[in-house]
Every structure is written in C-alpha cells, then in structure tokens.
C-alpha cells in the first residue's frame, strides 16, 4: 500500500514525452531561480507556470494528495516558527517598519514581516509541482540516463538507478519483517517509551540490513562478472533522443531563469524586492 506513493503511470502527452534530460535541466533551472529570488512577482510567475504545466501533464489529485498534506504541515510549522523566533526579520531585511497589529513588546506584526512570510510561503509552494512533475512523469529507468546526460559519472548514475530499482523491494522486505515482528508481540505503537521503540526499530533493522548486505554481494558479483565499469562511457537502453519540443522547453526554462536573475540583479539590486523604499 505504501509503495503507491511512487507509482509511475505512463501517459501520452507532451510533458511525458519530453526527454528525462530536459525535465531534469528544467527542474534544476526553475528551482534555482525560485530558490534565489525573494521577489514575489517573479515567484508568482513561476507558481502559475508550474501549476499550469502540472495541470497539463494530467497528474491526478489522488496521486499527489499525500505530498500536499506533508507540505502543508511543513509550511505551517515553518511559518509559525519564523514568526515566533524572528518577528522582526522583515524589518531587518527591508529597513523600514510599518506596524499593523501589536501583540506585545516583542511580537509586532509589520507589513515587512507579512511580505517576507507571504513571499516565503509562495516560494516554497511554487517549487512543489516542479519536483512532482520531474519524478512522476519520468520513467524510473530513464532517470539514470538523464543524470548521465548532465555529465554525472555513470557509476554515480548507476547507484541512483539501483536505488530506484530496489526501493520497492526493500520497502516490501521492511513491511514483511515489521509484520512478522509485530505478530511476535513487538509493539510499534505510540504506547511504548522512546527507548523501547528504538530497540524495537533495531529488531527490524538488523534482519533488513543483513539481507541488504547479502543482496549487495549478489548484485555486485553479477555486475563484475558482466564487466561493469570497464569502459569510460556507456550507452543507455532507456534514453529518449532530444526532439524539437525538448529544445523549445529548455529554451523556455532558461529564459525564465534568466529573466528572474536579471530582475534580481538589475532592477532590485539583490535578492529582495523592496516596495517600502
């Protein structure tokens, strides 16, 4: 049931048909752009773009429901922590202070703080679809070849490919061992003390790790016997050739990133857009 989180469903639309390399580069360019800028106008632009592409890709809500809950919880915690620990950070950044409400001596809500936190909220929301797009619309077998496409050593790519290949297997092993131990009376629920729960987790980890170590031996022997790592380069069975749509998409992503960095450098003179000045 849990491995449903990571199911790849093949679809025939332009997002799925892009090469994995294009999607990886696009993902990197756009996440870096939105990570760098604190200009809410740029961030809203990226937000609209990424949600539009998410809609076009035909990913269903049920596929990403779990993720959205995690993200919402994380963002809520982040926002509350920021306000509790640094209620005047906005003022520090923008250099002015326009009060809205005064809760106490320390907790004063200013327009600057509000802008900073709202910007930050949208900044994190805008990159969510990008990661989902990349992970859910790229065939896992193609993932390694696209990493190799950005000049990462194929040995490293192979490690990532093995991770994706064996993730469901190890998850299944984990569930089997966990259920077997629970049927023998191991309590995994919240009723136990933290120290007991760590001990119980160890009871599951030990067999899991020992079986993984055996697997490592088997797989690495098999790869060695087939001459893995003999040459400097290798070809990939699951690599999609670059097409016209790939180049169009890459140009568009690079364009967006350039505009964002350009606005930051030449118009805002830094990462922050300051409407208060």
């Amino acid at each position: 049931m849990k491995s449903k989180l990571f199911d790849y469903v093949e679809r025939d639309n332009w997002v799925y048909n892009l090469s994995g390399l294009t999607k990886l580069i696009g993902f990197i360019l756009l996440t870096f752009a939105s990570m760098y800028t604190y200009d809410i106008r740029c961030i809203l632009g990226i937000l609209i773009l990424s949600f539009t592409v998410l809609k076009m890709s035909g990913i269903t809500f049920s596929q990403i429901k779990m993720m959205l809950y995690y993200v919402a919880a994380f963002l809520l915690l982040n926002q509350v922590l920021t306000f509790l620990l640094a209620p005047t950070y906005g003022t520090e950044i923008y250099g002015t202070s326009h009060e809205i409400i005064r809760f106490s001596e320390r907790y004063v809500l200013t327009q600057e703080q509000l802008l900073y936190q709202v910007t930050k909220l949208f900044k994190y929301v805008s990159v969510i679809p990008l990661g989902m797009l990349f992970l859910l619309t790229t065939n896992p077998s193609e993932f390694a070849s696209s990493l190799n496409g950005v000049k990462i050593s194929y040995r490293g790519c192979y490690a990532v490919a093995l991770t994706l290949r064996y993730f469901p297997d190890i998850l299944r092993d984990y569930n089997d061992i966990s259920l077997a131990q629970q049927s023998r009376g191991l309590d995994m629920s919240k009723k136990e003390k933290t120290s007991t729960r760590i001990k119980n987790v160890l009871n599951i980890c030990v067999p899991l790790i020992f079986s993984t170590l055996q697997r490592i031996d088997v797989i690495s022997n098999a790869m060695d016997l087939r001459g893995f790592g003999k040459h400097k380069k290798r070809t990939w069975y699951a690599r999609k050739p670059m097409q016209k749509s790939d180049y169009v998409c890459l140009t568009a992503c690079a364009g967006v990133a350039l505009v964002v960095f350009g606005i930051a450098m030449f118009i805002n003179g830094g990462r922050f857009w300051n409407p208060f000045y």
Binding site: G131, F167, I198, F210
Partner: protein, 186 residues
C-alpha cells in the same frame, strides 16, 4: 590497506542499495523524540553503519540520494541545504573507514570509541555549521530559527547515529569470522 576514496563495483552497489534503505527508513521509520515536533531519524544510524563499512563516498552519496529522494517525494522538492548537510555528515563519518575492519569481525571497545568520536564530530559540523549556513545562504532563513533547528538536529542525529550505528556494527562484526580464528589441530 583500504583506500579512502576507492569506488569499485561493490561500493556503487552498496551506495545504491544503502540509499534505498536510507530512503525507506527516512520516510517511514521515525520515532517521535521527547522534544516536540521533531523525530529521531533512524535512517542516520543506517547511514553511519554504511559509511563505516564502505567509506566516505558511499556514505555521503547514500545520505544525499536517500534524503533528496524522500524529500522530493514528501515535499515535492528537496530542501537542498539539509540534503547537503546529510551528505556531509555521512561523508565525514566515512573518514573512519580505513581505520576499521568490521568485515573481518573486528569491532572492539577501541573501535566503538573511534566510530563515535567521528560521528559526533561529523554531526556537529554538518548540523551546526553546514546546514545553518546553507539555510541562510540558499534560503535566507532567519538566523534564530536555523540555529535552533540545527542544535536539535545535531543532538538527535548524534544519538541515533551513535546508538543504532554502534549496535549494528557490533552485531555485524560478530557474524563475521575473525581472521586467523581457525587453528590447525596437532
């Protein structure tokens, strides 16, 4: 003599499967800690174990790949500063690798102390230096929050890496036959 940065087929496979294991534990096996809103990530114990067994490159990549994938799956996009800090912590633990000989069944008191010194130093560097600085540089997070989170992470991860990592290493070393454990009968 073991080389610190070798990357043979076995290291690659260990990296791949180790990262999958890290990924599974990181996503599903969290023990809520006594500190509210935080959890003990058992995955770091396994990360420490693999780092000590297969070296810094495997360790660093395991934590990096495992953390990045699990973040991407749960939050849509990895929180890069912490992903990098994870990689750094297990990379640094891996530096102890040439000094240990777990494969040959040796993991005594001296080795336990050695492993734990390395892992505490590694966790302090990763969570009190690397993670907060990257949080400020990459994400412009306020200084107060990042150091509070950093201190919590350093303590919790050091506890997990210490307890789970040590137990796993001791247990594994016991399953291996010691070098020269056979003697010829007269």
């Amino acid at each position: 003599m073991k080389k610190l940065f070798e990357f043979k087929t076995k290291t690659i496979v260990a990296t791949g499967l180790g990262a999958a294991l890290f990924f599974v534990l990181f996503m599903y096996v969290k023990v809520p800690s006594p500190v509210p809103e935080t959890s003990l990530q058992t995955a770091y114990g396994v990360g420490g174990f693999f780092a000590a067994m297969f070296g810094p490159i495997a360790g660093g990549l395991i934590a990096f790949i495992g953390h990045a994938l699990s973040d991407a799956l749960s939050y849509g996009s990895p929180w890069w500063s912490w992903v990098i800090a994870s990689g750094v912590s297990c990379f640094l633990i891996g530096l102890v690798y040439p000094k240990l000989n777990v494969e040959e069944g040796e993991f005594g008191k001296k080795d336990i102390i050695l492993y734990n010194v390395y892992q505490v130093v590694a966790n302090v560097i990763a969570w009190l230096v690397v993670a907060p600085i990257l949080d400020i540089v990459i994400y412009s997070e306020p200084v107060e929050t990042v150091f509070l989170q950093g201190i919590t992470a350093a303590i919790l991860n050091a506890v997990v890496t210490g307890v789970i990592g040590t137990v796993l290493l001791v247990l594994y070393s016991k399953t291996r036959a010691k070098k020269g454990s056979l003697s010829k009968e007269g």
